[in-house]
């Protein structure tokens, strides 16, 4: 099998897994009724991909996941917020992977989650034109740290399990 096809297949599998996790998470009721707060389990795949693929490959996986996620959840307005969050998060994590090694990937994950919330907040402020929204930001920071820690640790387990997959 050519290396390019193999690469494409791996990325497609990752996207599909991320999408499945996303759809399953939709079915779990959110105990925190604050806009923007979410566990974001599908980011386990994002964090894993950031540490194993080139920047443009990760961006492609995330972009396809976001677009199809909007189709499956039927929530296209939310796409504005999640896309700007994801963009900031990706840029940040792709920079962070230069300094943070794979063993400490949870650190990058937490910072990525916080950046995601920051991007969301910025988008919401611009779209809604309501400065008071910034008062949600502290809650988003706390939840971002916790959710990022959880997904980061999950991604570390995934990395351990997938060591043999790529050979």
């Amino acid at each position: 099998m050519s290396a390019r096809v193999r690469r494409l297949t791996e990325l497609s599998v990752l996207t599909a897994v991320a999408l499945i996790i996303f759809v399953i998470e939709l079915q779990i009721p959110n105990p925190f009724p604050i806009p923007g707060i979410k566990l974001g389990l599908s980011n386990i795949i994002t964090v894993y991909a950031v540490y194993h693929y080139k920047a443009h490959e990760v961006a492609a996986v995330v972009a396809v996941r976001l677009a199809l996620g909007a189709v499956f959840s039927g929530n296209f307005m939310a796409l504005i917020y999640s896309a700007s969050g994801a963009a900031l998060c990706l840029i940040g994590m792709l920079l962070l992977r230069r300094w943070i090694d794979e063993k400490h990937l949870w650190i990058a994950s937490v910072l990525g989650a916080v950046l995601h919330n920051t991007g969301q907040m910025a988008a919401a402020l611009i779209v809604m034109q309501t400065p008071q929204l910034i008062l949600y930001y502290p809650f988003l920071l706390v939840s971002g740290c916790l959710a990022g820690l959880f997904t980061g640790l999950c991604a570390q387990f995934v990395t351990l399990r997938l060591k043999n997959w790529k050979k």
Binding site: P35, L96, I107, M128, T130, Q132, Y136, P138, V142
Partner: protein, 121 residues
Amino acid sequence: MKNKVFIIIIAVIFIAGIVGSVFVLTAPQKNTVRIVSDGEVIETIDLSTAEDRTFDVTYEGHVNTVEIQNHQIRVSDADCPDKTCVNMGWLRSSSMPIVCLPHKLVIEFTDSVDSVDAVTR
């Protein structure tokens, strides 16, 4: 070494978040409520004198049903998929508005308009 720096950054963000959250949650309640749709104030209500009622706020064909009861206000129904605004319940903290992101709706406490009205009337 670098990892420690990042962990300290995370700790600072986390603590700042918690302090901010406590600050926001303990802010006192006010009486006047403002309903903002797509960046425009569509209604200002004084809750202390408001009668119980239910009304719809429409944005691009989407509807949020707003309910006022016992001098409290909430979104009782919405036709959005996530219903976060409904789940937020009654408006409590003056610094944390009820928001419906898909329909660009905000319900928040605002400074009293009575003083202004008293003068203009």
